[in-house]
Amino acid sequence: MNETIAWYVENRHEATKKWKQETGKKVYGYFCCVTPEEILAAADILPVRITGTGEPLKNVDLHVPPNSCPFARSCLDAGMLGIYDYLDGVVVPTTCDIISTMEYFWKTLIPRPNKPSIIGGRDLTPFVHSIAYPEKVTGRQVMPYYVDVLRLFKQELERTLRRIITDEDLARVIAVYNEDKAQMKRLYEMRKSDPPAVSGYEAWQITYSSVLMPKDQHAALAKGYLDDLEASGRKAEPGVRLYVSGSAMDSVGSHIYKVIEESGGQVVSDDLCMGTRFFWNPLDTAMPPLEAVARRSLGTACPRSTSTTPIPENRWSHVLDTAKDYDIEGAIFYTLKCCDARSIENPHLGAQIQKEFGVPVLFLEGDYTTEGIEQMRGRIEAFIEMIEG
């Protein structure tokens, strides 16, 4: 793996702090891949995704009950421990219930470095921004509404930063983002062969580092890595071809790739918000830039959103897109406990995968620790052994 990418994956906080020191630019943290991070990037801000630590939680139990999302709890705990003190702002879209509350918790529990400028009861330059992401992501009224939400968000940023974000800024960023997405699409194309060109873990390193790094730098590094890979004709270890469906697959969750590979499996595609979900759909350059950003954000196949069609099909069409050409032999659903959005759709989605691809599905429930994944090793081994026959 490319050294810089590996360094970002393993030491994300050090890497970002160093970048901040060298460039003197601002860094914003965000929850969820639906965040219109293009607007942040257009204001010359580095958007980085907020993740937890996977360590035992120290502060959060007093505020967020234990029977809620372990990922969100860990993120907040990291914030309270000061791990994210280098951030200049935080963006929270109202996606699932627990992530939506992060706005309140981050505001109340984590001291902001600068003073709020409150006029008429409203914070004109908020440190924690909330994005009112709609419940249903398709339908006639959604686009105008959401473009308006993004316009307000852009204005908040402009006031805070005392600069204007122009359509040209956005268009420039959109081009960079599309280039990065194209590289990752290329990476996924290279996983269609048997054996795939890269292991599941290596592919994850590339996609995960994209949510931590400046996108132009990431696109260039990913391109270099893939060019080398293509030239060398190197292939990953062969193994049972698996599809992974889950949510926030950060460095804690990624331990599952190692367990899968050690058990004789190879992840070839996924349905993860730090995987295909955030980069699969490019931004439309023919649209006004803000609308393109809104469309990309609404098009993210998050299990928390539904569409207005009689049978919500946004999730299934994404799974179909990301699984159909990969010759998968099995699917692993890695869901964090207390994730309502996933638990509700899992039986239905699993059955549909079983029916469409004729492959078995393994349901696992994680607790956002690597030990928790170790406890699943036996089941993963049995699943792979079962497929091998």
Binding site: G264, E365, Q375, G378, R379, E381, E385, M386, E388, G389
Partner: protein
């Protein structure tokens, strides 16, 4: 040629020697030491009983939660597949196999050819496992072997929570204080364990014949509870606690090729 299967369970280590057609011998050792030495001890004892030496054994497969610790095994195989293999070999009509161990239970579904197509494990909880019934036996002051017969003598069953072994414990204690009969409490404990196992079976889909293996399959109270819940007859093979180890020995016998040499199923 002979083949060996070692099943390192949470409570005991089982070894089976198989020659491709019949079981030559089997031995069980309740684990009081770490897995590696227990496995070595039971394997050496079994070889000695049969008048064999380690070099007479072509391949050794290990299974169970401690399989990774068995350094003399050639390969390890998952307990789900071993249980299915062993049960199918003993009862060729098996389509759903349930393995109830001391600390974990699992259900496997098999296609008509005997290939495992799906499985489900109990979650991180002792409810629906052998130790859950043992816990009940402690509170009822009954030796574990008598739990089953005791429950069979009951008229109906006391209500015992199946959600959590710790909740069940307090329910059992309050039943005792309320003067509920031991028979009815024992029947309730089996019903609670059976409910959890019935859930597992539901997750893979019940197809007859239903075969139950593992040490807890020796418990007639649990078998009766499962028959009532699933409304189908439950088949229990001879020596059910050795079925997983037998499955490992069968795997050792039939798996000649290695993992990397496998051929892809296309289409």
């Amino acid at each position: 040629m002979t083949y060996a299967g070692i099943d390192v369970g949470a409570q005991s280590v089982k070894a089976v020697i198989f020659d491709g057609e019949k079981v030559l011998g089997r031995k069980l050792l309740v684990t009081e030491q770490e897995a590696e030495s227990a496995a070595q001890e039971v394997y050496a004892d079994l070889l000695e009983d049969l008048g064999l030496e380690a070099k007479n054994v072509e391949r050794v497969f290990a299974t169970g939660w401690g399989a990774g610790d068995v350094s003399f095994a050639d390969k390890k195989s998952s307990e789900q597949l071993c249980a299915a293999r062993g049960a199918r070999w003993l009862l060729p009509t098996a389509r759903t196999v349930v393995d109830i161990g001391a600390e974990g239970s699992r259900a496997m579904s098999l296609d008509p050819e005997g290939t495992t197509t799906n499985f489900a494990n109990n979650s991180k909880c002792a409810s629906g496992t052998g130790s859950f019934i043992e816990l009940g036996a402690v509170y009822l002051k009954v030796p574990i072997e008598q739990m089953g017969p005791l429950s069979l003598a009951a008229a109906g069953a006391a209500d015992v929570s199946s959600t959590c072994a710790v909740f069940a414990e307090s329910v059992i204690i309050s039943h005792i204080h309320m003067g509920e009969t031991r028979e009815r409490i024992a029947a309730g404990i089996h019903r609670a364990a059976g409910t959890r196992i019935h859930e597992l079976i539901g997750r893979v889909g019940l197809v007859e014949d239903l075969v139950v293996v593992g040490g807890a399959a020796r418990n007639p109270g649990l078998v009766k509870a499962l028959e009532e819940l699933t409304a189908v007859p439950v088949k229990v093979p001879e020596a059910p606690e050795f079925v997983v180890a037998l499955g490992a020995a069968i795997q050792a016998f039939s798996k000649r090729d290695t993992r990397r040499a496998r051929t892809r199923k296309k289409g």
